[in-house]
């Protein structure tokens, strides 16, 4: 069963790599914001998978925190792109 987790983790890493390329070369700023948002979601999935690979079950709190933090960061970046200030 652990090979399934490992294969999924490798697939997610390949996805992370591809999205990172887009975050670096994206010509407009919204491409980069989109890539950062997608990277946050893939990170949450990766954390949950690492939990199952190692056999312990205490990583779920971290996944919840990641989800909330990446949402707030995306909103902050968007507010700056739209209004020019962080008020």
């Amino acid at each position: 069963m652990s090979w399934v987790y490992l294969a999924t983790a490798i697939a997610l890493l390949i996805g992370l790599f591809i999205i990172l390329i887009r975050a670096i070369i994206g010509p407009t700023v919204y491409d980069r914001i989109l890539a950062t948002n997608a990277l946050g979601t893939k990170t949450i999935l990766f954390v949950t998978l690492l939990d199952y690979i190692s056999g312990r079950t205490e990583f779920i709190d971290m996944a919840i925190v990641y989800a909330l933090i990446s949402f707030i960061t995306t909103i902050a970046i968007l507010k700056f792109a739209e209004k020019g200030r962080l008020d």
């Binding site: 992370l16 887009r22 919204y30 890539a35 948002n37 909330l68 949402f71 968007l78 792109a81």
Partner: protein, 106 residues
Amino acid sequence: MLWNEIVTTVLLGLGCVVSLTGALGLLRMPDFYTRLHTAGKTDSLGQFLILLGLVFVTPDLLTQIKLVGVAMILMIAAPTATHAITKAAHLNDLRPWTKRDPGGEP
């Protein structure tokens, strides 16, 4: 393998295929709005499939509830973020790529 491991393998495989396709589309699509389609939609669906697949192999109930909780949070937050990005891009006059434009971004 037991039945729950088969279900988990199927769901994890589907989730991986969806996520990888979305990431590939993010790289290959010519314009921002097309990339938004691939990344935004496959993001929300892929995370739901993978987290739902992991529910079936969890031994205790509390972790299962927390996994479903994370899936629900992401189900609300990820489409909201995609909507906010689209609205910001549209309000800042980012025009979509039409057939008359030459080429398009690589």
